[in-house]
Amino acid sequence: MPFSLAIVLVLLVLVLLPMAWLAVTSLRSDSGGPTLGNYRQLVGDASFLRPLFTTLWTSAAVGTVCLLFAAPMGWLVSRSDLPGKRALRLLILASFATPPFLGAFAWVLLGGPNAGLINQWYYALFGLKPFEASPLINIFSAGGMVFVMALYTFPYVFTFIANGLDVIPGELEEASSILGAPAWRTALDVTFPLVLPALLAGFLVAFLQAMTLFGPPAILALPARIDTMTTKIWSLFQFPPQLGLAAAASVPLLVVAIALLRTQTLLMGRRGYSIIGGKSGAITQHPLGAWKVPALALFAVVLGCSILLPYGVLLRTAFVRNWSAPAGLANLTLDNWRFVFIEFSQTRLALLNTFALGVTAATAGTVLATVIGYLCIRRLVWGHSVLGFLATAPVAIPGIVLAVGLFLAYTHPPLMLYGTLAIIFLAYVTKEMPVGYQQIRAALTAVHPELEDASRIFGATRLRALRDVTAPLIRNGVIATWILIFLGSIRELSATILLFTARTKTISVTMFDLRESNDWGPIAVLSITMLLITFAMIAVVTRFTQRRII
């Protein structure tokens, strides 16, 4: 009882304290009295309404684009005889693991309207001249931002759809074809309605992801003088910070996020009807025949844009003096590497901070998620449902909104955490809590309580049963959780951007600083370093869990 109370208290401090500060500050004037002035300014000022509108339509566009591409991709991987599925899934996992701000950096180098390499090829190919002809791609635009955000958000939608299709029994479709329906008819009348909830849920998740991103809008939209809500909130934090306005501007994001997730829960809650067929047999793999070519082309385009081209351009940029010039021998250099790892005095501190934060957040997050998961799933304590709710609630809090709340809560006594790694640590633990909790739940659900009961019948205490029976069985799940939180932490930008100080910089904000002075060589070197760390960790996680992440 006191134990569970302590856990509830920890979660309340993590989740509700910053949100309470946010609410209170948004209703307070500079002099401290109660006011609705901040909200009045929010709805009356075009400089707030425009970013809000931009955020909403671009997020909806990201959701739509993701559906258009990821839905056929999901169907192809789940239901067709497409060759190379394993490799394709791996590449989709790579897009999932690529931090979106990193993709945005790469796409500046590829899709800058005049110097971007793709546009340079395009001009050269057609004998055109930059500025005279319009570019093939203008990445510095709302459309460019939507494109890049979709490239790194579609894996969420893909996963929803592929997994959704995997649980729809093949018999339903078989019945339809036995009754004489052509394949397209089966797809439209049987498969589509069954997978519709997954489609809508995928759209909502993509919307939510796009809405909360800070990197791509700051890198791609600001140069075109377009603000989104995240860049707007960030700009309110320039000294002296306009805290009341920033808090009020956070509220619409929070409200939309909660609404999206409520809708998603409703949709997914209905998925019960899709498994009426009981235990299903093998899923029919539709032969594609000549359609294999366009199907593979679809994957080639999407994965080319999200992985091959960006990684290629980052690798190229890391080894040349002038990124926009031909990569001849005279242009090749190791200077960027020497600069980053020998001269640049921020590299060491930023790497250390990033690792310290990753390791501590992953450890604390895993321990917390494991304890909460165990208490909830075994229903050991009173109020376990409250625990579960609090552990998943942060999923509805966009990173930058969480950061506003934490800034408000910890920049004054009694707990002055601003300027220390602790405040960023709190942000990461809170932000990653839902991921950790879901992972642990999944691992624990697979272990039937009977196993523990057996051990207890033979006289073991609960702790002993936990140590000797359950712990070894969920070990892999726990390790996977740790690594997922670690990965989520080392790439975090949208919350860190408000909370860092000179001594508490991470790799991601260091790269963002370098972007403001257009130092692309060092950015490329740090990007590659970050990707190498990420993929090494993913290799470890797949080894331990031996199961698909995507």
């Binding site: 400089s47 800058g112 309207p113 005049n114 110097a115 971007g116 930059p130 500025f131 510095f140 600001l222 140069p223 075109a224 003088r225 377009i226 603000d227 860049t231 707007k232 700009s235 320039q238 000294f239 002296p240 910070p241 003096r321 002038n322 990124w323 926009s324 600069f339 001269e343 640049f344 005095s345 921020q346 501190l349 920049t411 002055m416 601003y418 300027g419 100080t501 000179a502 001594r503 600083d513 370098l514 403001e516 002075s517 257009n518 130092d519 692309w520 060092p522």
Partner: protein
């Protein structure tokens, strides 16, 4: 308080300020030993990150026991970070360099700076240093226009700010942001004084690409992403020209904003001795020559030689900076600019 007491008090204050300096001005052995114990100096600077790290390397070569932590950002961002840290009780910065000279007036008024005159600064002309010894102009640069020679022929290149309003430059211009960059802010102040806000309002309609740093715009035109730069550091242009990038500097006919960039030591610097050793080093002929040769800056040190291929300051029509007049207008300049050009 009686008149006599007041007189005594002020006399006492003067005496204490003059007779017992907290630390020596020149680098002494005792200062070096204490600095070695402190181990490092934390330098917030707005100078291009590669120039900053080159200075740090040169300092470490001269003083191997003292490390340099460089925190580089735009001057306005540096100012915001220092003030935010100060307000939150964080003491991190030792030495600061900003291209918005009005920052030093503000910090001096707040009594946040330590008085310290590096030996070389004694030889600087009076207009390039604070009379009370709180700061001195470490470097200067011009906020110049520029263009990419592959994209614009020399005869077509704009000659003045007014030329940039020509419809043929629409969609080809790139500009830095006074909310981020001190050079851009100082330049904006000078441009507004000569041409008025009306000019900037018209410029904003030219589909200008909005970058942040005045170190970023020269790199942008060097890469060919944009053809003409509205404002950028002259020193980055010199660096690009030395690297054989296809760019040329334009000194606009209306005049070119002259931007001084002082450094100062904070009174509550966590590494006070290392800070003084470093500050003294920054103004030596050796460091100044490095900032000029490698860093493309203008030096105010009388013994420093400028490379022959650079237009001497005497041949350029300058728009001088005026930090004291600019200081009260900074907030308004940023606000009006952001309304026109975005964040």
């Amino acid at each position: 308080m009686t008149g006599i007491a007041r007189l005594l008090m002020s006399g006492l204050l003067t005496w204490s300020a003059v007779a017992i300096p907290a630390l020596a001005q020149e680098t002494t052995q005792a200062m070096l030993d204490a600095a070695a114990k402190e181990g490092k100096v934390v330098w917030y600077s707005s100078v291009d990150v590669k120039v900053a790290e080159a200075i740090a390397q040169a300092f470490k070569a001269a003083y191997p026991k003292i490390d340099v932590d460089v925190e580089r950002s735009g001057s306005e961002r540096v100012f915001q970070r220092i003030n935010q840290e100060h307000q939150s009780g964080i003491r991190n910065v030792d030495v600061v360099n900003s291209s918005d000279a009005s920052h030093f007036l503000f910090w001096k008024q707040q009594k946040w700076l330590a008085a310290h005159t590096p030996p070389d600064v004694k030889r600087y002309a009076p207009q390039f240093k604070d009379p009370d010894g709180y700061y001195a102009d470490w470097r200067a640069t011009l906020s110049v226009m520029g263009y990419n020679t592959n994209l614009v022929a020399e005869k077509d290149a704009p000659k003045s700010y007014a030329d940039l309003l020509d419809p043929r430059w629409k969609g080809k211009l790139v500009k830095s942001h006074p909310g981020y960059s001190g050079t851009s802010l100082t330049g904006t102040y000078a441009i507004v004084k000569v041409l008025g806000w009306d000019y900037l309002a018209k410029l904003a309609k030219q589909d200008v690409q909005q970058l942040q740093s005045t170190t970023a715009t020269p790199k942008s035109i060097a890469s060919g992403e944009r053809a003409v730069m509205v404002d950028g550091n002259e020193y980055n242009m010199f660096i690009e020209i030395d690297r054989k990038s296809p760019v040329k500097i334009i000194y606009p006919t209306e005049g070119t904003p002259f931007v001084t960039s002082p450094t100062a030591i904070f009174a509550d610097a966590p590494h006070p001795n290392a800070a003084r050793v470093f500050q003294n080093f920054l103004y030596t002929v050796k460091a100044q020559q490095l900032v000029v040769d490698m860093g493309g800056a203008r030096s105010l040190h009388p013994d420093v030689k400028e490379p022959a291929n650079r237009t001497p300051l005497s041949k350029i029509k300058l728009l001088p900076d005026d930090p004291a007049a600019m200081l009260p207008l900074v907030g308004e300049i940023k606000k009006r600019y952001t309304e026109l050009f975005g964040n």
